[in-house]
């Protein structure tokens, strides 16, 4: 019988796993971490300052104008929500399908999801003209009339979709982390640490009963999270698909958006994992090249799916016979913003094709570069959809240009700053690999020199 390649390499014992993973949380960060953290925090600060100025002065500081009502904010929102897909997909869907390779990366991927959705969730708020009243989008009995929300508006569906997704992902992530937090608590050497992790581990004792409850809860949550992976980006795509704008009004959008989201999410996971492997060399045993190769296969597959969507949009635009639709797509590829379309097509469809080669799939530098390109390409995909459709619509008199301002760049860069700040804090305070899930992957008892126990 051909043995599968082991999911954890380096002949790790249970003790090794606990030590390897908890050490990141238990030791003081080195100068490298601090340097990266300050860069990320600088970005986060830019984010906060930009948001503050925009809220104080007005939306007009950004490139959005007449006729382009949505710009960087919505593009970046969809971009981050898309990235937020990979985590839950890895932990929930792959869990249900018993894909064991997920265990090395699921924790970090879920954390990425949470932070990506948090970063994304800010944008719909910032992009409103009066963000201090954005809570009016939430339906609850109120004293404003009472005024109710418009359930026909896709933006409202968006509010539900994203907030539900964030909540379920957060609970799922946290529940999965409870046994690991308990491990950290048990290893803690000072009282404060013990207290904090003790509270966070919700009284976990590792009894049989605990495990039984835990595993059924985890399964149920996985079952709950699975449809959300598909629904959230479908609903985000409704923001566009339900409108009547040529280039937006497209039935292919839900599957196309979900594929794109998985595509970009996996690319982001690859980017992060490669960086973690560089920063914490002992992580190479848990996040192996095998893991990365599997993800690269998914990136290539979903990349071709979005490529198919791009092609089919053009076909339908021609086949529909609607002159506005036709013009919108010709304008995308050959209009004044042709460059954005071709950046998108190159990054998303052409570059991932290198993964046909096994050497490329397993090459850390190549996959890192490709994953960055995919991230760039997916940002441009949303740019193409949002901006190039709006800038030339029905009445030519309305047509207008889109020129990004410093504030747009501030938000875009700042969103990365916020994301990395959160992620860097995460790897220092919570176990970035699911110890309790990785340990069963060891072939304990089948190999000679194990030390046993944990």
């Amino acid at each position: 019988m051909i043995q599968r390649e082991p999911l954890v390499t380096g002949n790790k014992t249970y003790q090794d796993i606990s030590n390897d993973i908890c050490s990141v949380v238990e030791t003081k960060p080195g100068t490298g971490w601090w340097k990266i953290f300050f860069v990320a925090k600088g970005g986060f600060l830019i984010h906060l300052i930009t948001i503050f100025i925009i809220c104080a002065v007005g939306m007009g500081l950004q490139a959005v104008s007449h006729p382009i009502g949505w710009g960087t904010d919505i593009i970046t929102f969809v971009f981050w929500v898309g990235i937020g897909h990979a985590g839950t997909l890895i932990s929930a869907i792959l869990f249900l399908f018993r894909q064991k390779w997920r265990t090395g990366i699921n924790r970090a991927a879920e954390a990425m999801t949470i932070f990506a959705v948090m970063v994304a969730g800010l944008f719909p708020l910032i992009h409103t003209g009066r963000p201090w009243l954005a809570f009016w989008l939430i339906p609850y009995p109120n004293q404003r009339g009472p005024l109710w929300v418009n359930f026909r508006s896709p933006l409202l569906w968006d509010v539900f979709a994203v907030s539900t997704y964030l909540t379920v992902s957060l609970v799922f992530w946290y529940v999965g982390m409870v046994p690991d937090i308990a491990t950290i608590r048990d290893r803690a050497k000072n009282k404060v640490r013990k207290l904090i992790y003790g509270v966070m581990s919700l009284g976990w004792r590792g009894t049989n009963r605990d495990w039984q409850h835990y595993e059924s809860a985890y399964l149920i949550l996985a079952g709950l999270a699975t449809p959300l992976v598909l629904s959230v980006h479908s609903i985000v795509s409704f923001d566009f698909a339900v409108s009547m704008l040529p280039g937006w009004h497209t039935t292919i959008f839900p599957p196309y958006f979900v594929a794109g989201a998985i595509f970009s999410g996996f690319a982001m996971v690859v980017t992060l994992m490669v960086l973690i492997r560089i920063a914490f060399p002992h992580m190479k045993h848990y996040v192996t090249v095998n893991h990365l190769e599997v993800m690269n296969k998914i990136i290539m597959t979903t990349g071709m799916m979005v490529g198919y969507a791009y092609a089919s949009e053009f076909f339908i635009a021609w086949y529909s016979g609607v002159e506005y639709e036709k013009y919108a797509f010709i304008n995308r590829a050959f209009g004044p913003m042709w460059w954005s379309y071709w950046i998108m097509a190159t990054c998303n469809v052409i570059i991932p094709q290198v993964f046909w080669f096994k050497a490329a799939r397993r090459s850390i530098p190549i996959m890192f570069v490709v994953s960055i390109f995919v991230n760039i390409g997916m940002w441009f995909e949303r740019f193409v959809i949002t901006v190039t459709s709006l800038h030339r619509d029905f009445l030519p008199a309305n047509w207008g240009p889109f020129k990004m301002t410093l504030y747009d760049f501030g938000l875009l860069i700042g969103s990365f700053g916020m994301f990395f700040t959160l992620f860097l804090i995460f790897i220092r305070v919570l176990p970035m690999v699911a110890m309790s899930e990785v340990k069963p992957m060891l072939k304990v008892g089948k190999e000679k020199n194990h030390h046993g126990g944990h």
């Binding site: 007005g58 949505w70 929300v149 933006l155 009547m244 008199a397 207008g400």
Partner: protein, 1018 residues
């Protein structure tokens, strides 16, 4: 204005407390006897009242910002004429440098807030130009002169009292050599007062304005021996030929011309026809049935060529055998080839003209006609009209001619000569700005230094005021009494609608005061208490003259009420064309062929800026030019060929060099320009008008050539060169071709008569949902693209009515302009010689409004009367509605536009919410007007009558292209308009069911077969 550092309120207090003396107070208090605010003089004064109103406006307008309110006082002592919340309307008149309109001024709680056209005024008949409508803003202009002042050694204006000013001025005046320089006043009583003034003081009155119509007068004098500006009767003309004359845009009386012209624009075989020969693209040319591009220097040849066709080729008219005429025409045998017009087309036009003799008009003039050969153009045009027997039919010079244009450059020339010779000791300048509008080479500025005392009466410390020794600020016309006679026998009254904002004094009262103090002049001038008394005394004499009998008070009250006494229309006199005059054939000797080679510059007056006087009004600066759609800038219009030759595109700065001047300005590629013609607007490049207007664009007047005192505005030989610099132009329209879409549908009259819905591609649309049943009213609009000229009066009407902010050049470039009503202008056909179509675009109030379904907070909803409503308070500003609006008519408040510089906030309409930052807004169909009408109807227990509600755009429209009303009433005009076969909705195939429908643009190109672009929408 460095000297006016004190605040308004302390200023007013100090005037009352410190400088008040018996005589002054008497005069000032009596000046506004009929003012609705005179009651305040005892208790609350108007200023306090305005302050209170200002506070409540601030409250009403800033719903989201909490501001401390110092004091609120109930409106306890209410004057009988004023009911809070109810608008008062006063008939008045507005005239500026010859162009005048009967107006109705809407006031609320003592503030003029809206100008409407006076429907009973025979000239504009309810229509009103953009410039006139912006006057409610100009009265509140924060940069107005606020007090009399004297210039000190440092060149600063120091505040002085009227008493001090009068003391020094009246002594100076007694030494003689007085000249009063004004623009055309058109006011019989003011002119009488000026005459009286000059019986007391030794001197004379000089009338000049930069856009004078003296070329027309000179031509009339040479041709007929009568110095007159005739009344052009476009309503009588079935065939109109304009040679470079923008009579729809800025020439003589454009509102009247448009209205009259459209009376003949009926969709039948009798439809009138407009042929325009022009060097650059103007509003008139854009509306032409057939437009032909000619060099500016070829305009004389065009007219003579038409004469040649009629007299020599067709041997028509009684001049066909006149040797003198034939000799004059000989040189113009082959003009069609020379000027680059198809010979067949030329003879077709001539044939049509001859066929419609007595019912045609040929017009030439305006700035484009003021070439070196301007007099020849006028004489040739007059002769053509005489040949066509139009004189005395469609051209009325004897019955009811235009009285409002009096200014002339000849008068200015003699004034400058007098000044240079030291014959002018005191120069009083009223509301004209020669230092700005007269190029330095005319020598006015230099001559000014030879005048002992210069007194400036105007609104702003402008370029001319800077040279004045004294500022004696005149009232704004909305603050002053007056009368006007714009056309012979058409008398109208100018009523003040607000007490003077500042310590200003009317020019007439200044003259009265000076005559009184110097104790000179006739008793009727020096012994009246106020200008109003003088005016009334004059009208007491005139009452019988205008055919009114009965007590004066009754006559006067009616005059004020109606705003107009029209003696021109007694016994249908107005409809009579006057008598046919004898044409002096000797004048034909003055006609020479102009030289033409190289590039020619044509200066033109734009609709927004006209002569530059109102450069400080943001509304007009931000009014997209009807043709170019550019705002807030000067630009050199040039043909695509010329631009290619120079290697420039939009925004590349080019240098214009004439024989004496150099100006640098961004280029703008304008389809439809003659390839050898470039055009630049005058009226910009002000340097001393105020915070808004200073430094916008370049001053085109500096390029005017001096032909021994006569100005040359057109066919100026220039060389254009590229500088390599760039400046982005603020164009409010993104793209100028329809890309084959069905947006504006055009048809020829031939096609229309065959099939009324010609060229409309109809779509079959269906819905699976049942339609909503509108039970009560259902409001809808129709816009007739045939009669819409694109003049843009509606844009300003909407802006004024609905408190729409201006955003400035930078933000127009960024696409943040706020106009609810915009005029889309598209080109059809060839880029070098396109047809032009206009389409007013506003909220379409779709029955299936795409904006409504996508708003997450229900801020935009549909009323049960079919209105698409916007609830500002509810809006959080997602802008989803705007994205989903296929017409993109929604406007977003990108910044806080509700902070308005005082006292401009007084121009706000209190019936319309001022929108805060971050909310969406759009056309409401003037819902506030609908509510007033419905309330009135309810009080009288009836339903709203058809035509009772007029939207602001509809009301101002000179050609009545807009119809509004209740679609549920089958008898209403709107129902009939919507039922017309050539009525269509834009983007109907999307089943938005727009409640605004357009009627196709129909052009009459009959007989002009060689016209190459007919119909279609490409």
């Amino acid at each position: 204005m460095e000297d006016q550092t004190f605040t308004n309120s302390t200023y007013w207090k100090s005037i009352d407390e410190k400088y008040q003396n018996e005589g002054w107070r008497k005069v000032a208090e009596n000046e506004f006897k009929n003012s609705p605010y005179s009651e305040f003089l005892n208790g609350t004064n108007r200023r306090d009242f305005l302050k209170l109103m200002g506070a409540s406006i601030a409250l009403a307008s800033t719903s989201c910002v909490r501001r401390p309110v110092d004091h609120i006082v109930p409106y306890a002592n209410r004057p009988p004429e004023v009911t809070p919340g109810i608008a008062n309307y006063y008939a008045s008149t507005y005239a500026h440098a010859g162009q005048g309109f009967g107006t109705i001024v809407k006031t609320r709680e003592g503030r003029p807030i809206k100008m409407e056209g006076n429907p009973s005024h025979p000239m504009n008949q309810g229509g009103l130009s953009a410039m006139a409508q912006a006057q409610v803003l100009s009265v509140y202009d924060p940069d107005r002169i606020k007090n009399p002042a004297k210039q000190n050694e440092n060149g600063e204006f120091e505040k002085i009292s009227w008493d001090d000013l009068d003391e020094q001025v009246h002594k100076q005046l007694r030494s003689g050599g007085v000249v009063l320089l004004t623009s055309s006043l058109a006011s019989p009583t003011t002119e009488m007062a000026i005459k009286d003034f000059f019986t007391g003081f030794n001197g004379r009155h000089v009338v000049w304005e930069p856009l004078a119509a003296d070329d027309v007068m000179n031509g009339q004098e040479a041709s007929y021996g009568q110095r007159v500006v005739p009344r052009y009767r476009f309503d009588k003309a079935k065939m109109v030929v304009s040679v470079g004359c923008d009579f729809f845009g800025t020439w003589i009386s454009p509102i009247e011309h448009m209205r009259d012209f459209m009376k003949g624009r009926k969709l039948n075989s009798n439809m009138n026809k407009l042929v325009v020969f022009e060097p650059s693209m103007t509003l008139t040319g854009a509306n032409a049935d057939t437009r032909l591009m000619v060099r500016a220097s070829h305009q004389v040849s065009v007219v003579m060529g038409l004469l040649y066709e009629i007299i020599v080729k067709q041997k028509a008219s009684r001049y066909a055998s006149d040797g003198q005429v034939l000799a004059a025409l000989k040189k113009f045998e082959n003009v069609a080839a020379e000027i680059g017009v198809e010979a067949d087309l030329m003879s077709a036009i001539a044939k049509d003209l001859w066929a419609n003799r007595g019912a045609s008009i040929v017009v030439a003039g305006g700035l484009a006609g003021r070439t070196e050969n301007a007099i020849a153009l006028q004489i040739a045009t007059n002769f053509l009209n005489t040949v066509l027997e139009n004189d005395g039919q469609t051209i009325d010079a004897t019955n009811i001619p235009v009285k409002s244009f009096e200014g002339s450059y000849a008068a200015m020339k003699s004034l400058i000569a007098d000044m240079n010779a030291g014959r002018v000791k005191t120069l009083i300048i009223n509301n004209v700005n020669p230092v700005y509008a007269l190029a330095k080479k005319f020598g006015f500025e230099e001559a000014l230094s030879k005048v002992q005392m210069v007194i400036y009466m105007g609104q702003h410390v402008d370029e001319t005021a800077r040279f004045a020794h004294y500022l004696a600020p005149d009232h704004h016309h909305l603050e002053n009494w007056g009368d006007l006679e714009l056309q012979k026998g058409v008398y109208s009254i100018q009523q003040p609608t607000i007490r003077p904002m500042y310590d200003t004094r009317s020019m007439q009262l200044s003259m009265i005061s000076w005559a009184y103090q110097a104790e000179v002049g006739p008793a009727r001038l020096k012994d009246v208490d106020s200008w109003l008394d003088y005016l009334k005394n004059a009208w007491k004499q005139k009452q019988s003259e205008v055919g009114s009998i009965g007590p004066f008070d009754v006559f006067w009250t009616n005059f004020l009420k109606e705003g107009v006494v029209d003696t021109s229309n007694r016994n249908g006199k107005r409809n009579h064309g006057g008598t046919t005059r004898k044409f002096l054939l000797s004048s034909l000797n003055k006609i020479t062929k102009s030289k033409s080679d190289g590039t020619e510059l044509v200066l033109f007056a734009s609709i927004g800026q006209y002569d530059g006087s109102y450069a400080n009004l943001s509304w007009l600066q931000e009014l997209p030019d009807p043709v170019t759609k550019i705002v807030w800038d000067s630009y050199l219009m040039m043909s695509p060929e010329k631009a290619k030759e120079l290697g420039v595109t939009d925004g590349h700065i080019v240098e214009i060099k004439t024989s004496s001047d150099v100006v640098s300005v961004p280029a703008f590629v304008q389809p439809g320009m003659h390839k050898d013609v470039v055009a630049l607007a005058v009226g910009l490049g002000r340097t001393s008008v105020g915070a808004v207007g200073d430094g916008i664009g370049v001053n085109g007047f500096t390029l005017v050539q001096n032909q021994s005192g006569e100005p040359v505005f057109s066919a100026i030989p220039v060389t254009i060169s590229k500088t390599g610099q760039e400046r982005e132009l603020a164009n409010s329209q993104g793209h100028h071709w329809m890309e084959g879409r069905q947006i504006v549908v055009q048809a020829t009259i031939k096609d229309y008569l065959k099939k009324a819905d010609a060229n409309i591609h109809k779509h079959k649309v269906f819905s699976i949902w049942p339609k909503y049943e509108y039970k009560g009213y259902r409001w809808a609009m129709s816009i007739d693209l045939t009669t819409c000229t694109g003049c843009s009066a509606c844009v300003i009407a909407c802006q004024s009515e609905n408190n729409i902010p201006s955003v400035g050049r930078r933000f127009v470039i960024e696409g943040r302009e706020m106009h609810w009503m915009r005029i889309d202008r598209y080109y059809v056909g060839d880029e070098k010689d396109p047809q032009v179509v206009f389409q007013p675009m506003l909220c379409q109030h779709c029955e299936n409004a795409p904006c409504e379904t996508v708003c997450p907070v229900l801020a935009t909803t549909h009323s049960d009367e079919g209105l698409n409503q916007m609830t500002y308070n509810r809006c959080v500003g997602t802008r989803y509605c705007s994205n989903n609006c296929p017409y993109k008519v929604r406007r977003f408040n990108w910044f806080a536009y509700d902070t308005i510089k005082k006292p401009l906030n007084l121009a706000l309409n209190p019936d319309v919410t001022v929108r805060s930052r971050g909310v969406m807004e759009k056309c409401t169909f003037c819902v506030q007007r609908i509510h007033v009408a419905k309330d009135n109807a309810k009080d009288e227990n009836r339903t709203v009558k058809d035509g009772e509600i007029k939207t602001a755009c509809q009301e101002s429209c000179p050609t009545q292209a807009i119809t509004f009303g209740n679609l549920n009433d089958p008898e209403s005009r709107i129902s009939k308009e919507h039922a017309q076969e050539n009525s269509y909705g834009v983007l109907e195939e999307y089943n938005t069911v727009p409640m605004v429908k357009y009627r196709t643009k129909v052009r009459n190109t009959e007989h002009l077969a060689s016209d190459h672009q007919e119909g279609g929408h490409s």
